[in-house]
């Protein structure tokens, strides 16, 4: 049956949290009521990326973008647009600070600067229907490698494309496959690492939610290349929607004979199983992940031997990240030359980033390697909200570092980021503005890593808690001369002495902020001031007598009743009672509460 219009309702986790399933249901109901149900089809797609504006509906083929929908909007929308043919302007996107609506997806800055490979099907297919995927060239790459390519050809193609691991390390994927292929031991295993533990990063979840078959197809190609017959997807248990979509996808692929025995009649056997993680950051490390699947204590082990030689149950094992797998079918189908034409000299293709924090257009973006931070943050991200000053961007989560505002024209690729003391990581980009305290941010990351350190290496276990102790002391106003030097020395020692990536990179947030924002540390230690007004021990709230009109709002809202004053008189904060929660500042309409 042919429909004249498709309504693509985003059903990624962020939109679902804003009620997009309800929106989808209401749309279907309303369309039926208007008798349009044989003309218009409502489709639930995976994450479309523009999470800040959810719930989102895109009208295809007109490409019209509706955002921030609420259930009350739906009857009006259906009547106006789909019955009367008048697109509803007030539900369209308006860039912050501007007045004109932007009707179509391609005109919105957030979308039109992106280049989609791993996320090419986002918002275009129903992730729970294999036919939708096949309709968009899906599984054609599988047919190509089974009919026209030898395993060697596949590996050559991947090597030529320059694809590198998207999980953070950036190891060339083709070389990894080749090592695993060369091993004579059988059986071999392949694993998809979907244990996305970085706080502030969710691209793997989105890929699995919006296009699970791309990951499955990528793994099939990898399995064929290295000669594996069993694969595992290790996925965080915190991602229930992704897990259920992947389960459905695997089931459908089995039904279509794309998983299981004798795939497409070519004598190729491969099957997939889902393994759920249980919430441990270190399990994203490959040896630790393998131990977790084996059911033993998931501490990383010494490499070499690399998993490619001795991995799961002592057998050769190839592990790649979700995004890496999702890139593979496109490379096979469109060729290594096409892929390597995108990007920079050493970093090819695209990278998905989750752009979050103090930014207008929060969401998921896929951009070509080599794009500058300025383009990502201003053209795609729409800049920092509320006219605040952009201070930097934290890339790579707890393993990465902060790139300061002065380096905003830095082209983003593996090497350039490492050069400035950050790293690609899995691709979390947290934008920070003048209201973010860099010392507090470092303390936050150390709190995370010291909690998640498995405790095997003394340098990581004890070192992280020692760093945390010093950082906590600094934020509490007890910093001493020499603390900065101590943090640096300890940081380099931990980098040198730790066994796995967690320990080797955990000092990065501290070291990079000391390098670029040393004055903030000094302000905390010497002047006992927090320039961003975040660290509670170092700030005081005051009421500006000239501005206070005595409206009593702050006194009513204060949770500890620390504010006193009569109506129409200047109020005063009792400093001994004040818990520095900042509620008075947010509720004051006259901007009379100041922080020092």
């Amino acid at each position: 049956m042919a429909y004249r219009t498709h309504l693509m309702v985003c059903t990624g986790t962020a939109c679902v949290s804003c009620g997009s399933f309800k929106i989808k249901e209401l749309l279907e109901e309303e369309i039926k009521k208007q008798g349009l149900d044989d003309e218009i089809l409502v489709v639930g797609t995976g994450c479309q990326g523009f999470c800040a504006q959810g719930p989102i509906v895109v009208v295809q083929p007109d490409d019209i973008f509706y955002q921030l929908l609420s259930p009350e909007d739906i009857p009006y929308l259906v009547e106006e647009h789909f019955l009367k043919g008048r697109p509803v302007k007030k539900m369209m996107y308006t860039p912050p600070g501007e007045k004109t609506h932007i009707p179509t997806v391609n005109e919105i800055g957030f979308f039109n600067k992106q280049r989609l490979i791993a996320l090419r099907n986002k918002g275009l297919i129903d992730a729970e229907k294999i036919d939708d995927y096949i309709g968009r060239d899906g599984y054609n790459a599988l047919i190509k490698i089974l009919t026209a390519m030898t395993p060697e050809d596949i590996i050559n193609e991947i090597q030529k494309s320059g694809l590198r691991g998207r999980g953070g390390g950036g190891f060339p994927t083709g070389i990894k496959w080749e090592i695993c292929k060369k091993s004579e031991e059988f059986p071999k295993y392949i694993i998809c690492n979907a244990d996305e533990g970085d706080p502030g990063a969710y691209m793997d979840r989105s890929i699995v939610e919006s296009d699970p078959h791309a990951v499955i197809e990528g793994m099939l190609i990898g399995a064929r290349a290295i000669g594996a017959e069993q694969g595992y997807v290790y996925i965080r248990t915190e991602y229930p929607l992704a897990i259920s979509r992947l389960e459905i996808a695997i089931e459908q692929a089995r039904e279509y004979g794309l998983l299981g025995e004798d795939i497409l009649g070519k004598g190729f056997n491969f099957d997939l199983e889902i393994k759920q993680g249980a919430g441990a950051f270190v399990c994203g490390e490959e040896t630790s992940l393998i131990h977790s699947i084996e059911g033993i204590s998931p501490e990383p082990s010494q490499r070499p031997p690399f998993p490619a030689e001795s991995g799961l149950w002592g057998q050769p094992t190839n592990i790649n990240n979700v995004e890496t797998w999702a890139n593979v079918p496109r490379i096979i189908l469109r060729g290594a030359d096409w892929f390597s034409s995108i990007g920079t000299e050493k970093s090819k293709g695209t990278k998905v980033f989750s752009l979050v924090g103090k930014i207008n257009n929060t969401g998921l973006v896929e951009v070509p390697m080599g794009i500058t931070l300025r383009e990502i943050i201003y053209d795609i991200g729409g800049g920092v909200p509320n006219g605040k000053k952009f201070k930097g961007v934290q890339i790579g989560g707890p393993s990465g570092g902060v790139v300061p505002a002065s380096l905003i024209d830095l082209p983003v690729d593996y090497e350039k980021l490492t050069e400035v003391g950050s790293m690609m990581g899995s691709g979390g980009m947290v934008v920070v503005d003048e209201d973010t305290c860099m010392v507090d941010l470092s303390r936050y990351f150390l709190e995370f890593t010291s909690d998640e350190s498995c405790g095997k290496c003394t340098s990581c276990r004890e070192g992280s808690s020692a760093m945390l102790e010093v950082l906590t002391r600094i934020t509490e106003g007890h910093g001493k001369e020499g603390d900065i030097e101590f943090l640096e020395e300890l940081g380099y020692a931990i980098k040198d002495a730790s066994q796995c990536g967690l320990g080797q990179t955990l000092p990065n947030p501290v070291l990079s902020t000391i390098k670029n924002f040393r004055h903030e540390y000094e302000a905390h230690i010497k002047d006992k001031k927090c320039p961003a007004h975040v660290c509670k021990a170092l700030i005081d709230f005051h009421i500006d007598a000239d501005k206070c009109v005595g409206c009593t709002v702050c006194a009513i809202k204060c949770p500890v009743k620390a504010i006193s004053g009569n109506r129409k008189e200047v109020h005063i904060i009792d400093q001994s009672e004040c818990i520095k929660c900042g509620i008075c500042k947010t509720v004051c309409k006259f901007d009379a509460v100041t922080v020092e």
């Binding site: 986790t13 962020a14 949290s17 804003c18 999470c51 800040a52 959810g54 996305e196 533990g197 970085d198 706080p199 502030g200 990063a201 969710y202 979840r205 989105s206 248990t237 915190e238 991602y239 759920q276 993680g277 249980a278 919430g279 441990a280 950051f281 977790s292 699947i293 084996e294 059911g295 033993i296 204590s297 998931p298 149950w313 989750s354 979050v356 924090g357 103090k358 929060t362 969401g363 934290q394 989560g397 979390g428 947290v430 920070v432 973010t436 941010l441 936050y444 990351f445 995370f448 498995c454 809202k557 949770p559 818990i579 929660c581 900042g582 509620i583 947010t586 509720v587």
Partner: protein, 295 residues
Amino acid sequence: MDKKKVGSVLVVGAGIAGIQSSLDLANSGYKVYLLEQTPSIGGTMAQLDKTFPTNDCAMCVMSPKLVECGRHLNIEIITNAELKKVVGEAGNFKVEVTKHPRYVDEDKCTGCAACTQHCPVTVALYPIEKDPIFLKPEDRTKVDAILEKYKDMKGNLLPILQSINTEFRYLPEKIIKYVSQEQNVSLSKIYQIATFYNTFHLEQRGKHIITVCIGTACHVQGAPGLIEAIENELNIKVGETTRDMNFTLETARCFGCCGLAPVITVDEDVHGKLKRADIPKIIKHYKTMEEKQDA
């Protein structure tokens, strides 16, 4: 009193206390017979990771003593032996000791452990007594079903614990002991796994679970303030449960809803883009829900 030391002493049990007593006595000039039931001296302390109160590693404390004890000319160690009979009075005892056969020539054995590695059967030196564990019949059926489901799976401990955690919302002690016996996995191993991952809980949790996301995006957008507000509102700290068992406050590392930061979830409901001032309203909603149910 005659200061010349005469006679000898028998110390029964070569644990850390026995070893230390033997050393003290031997250094004071007595001949010591150190009797031990198991094939080697050392006892339980050797199995401990750390010791109270200094947290020193147990083996670091005791290995010098073991060596000293073994070499001391005044100490004769009798292992693999039992005390059968004691007669006499203070100052003049006669004891009867049964020494079990070792089947290894003690003079020639250097303790290289090669034989133990190659012996095809293992015998537990310290057999763990198995108390029968009584579960409620309905719990037992649930647990048995879970164990049956993962019976043939390689590396099944993690999924078993995950299923139990989902079913009971935490890992009850009794059930864990039961699993330990049924699966023949030591409790310490289960405990190691259960404390390694954030998903598992060892204490019973409240009816409503409030989880505050403390991912980076939520952190910079004000998650710490939300935690403080909830703590004040419910009068509990993170990880605790209110006394009426209605609310448990937890934190999570990123739900991946960074677009809605800062985010909290109450059970399955997601509340995003929150301000500190929103918290009382949200909690009140669930409190009234509870009160309605009670009524």
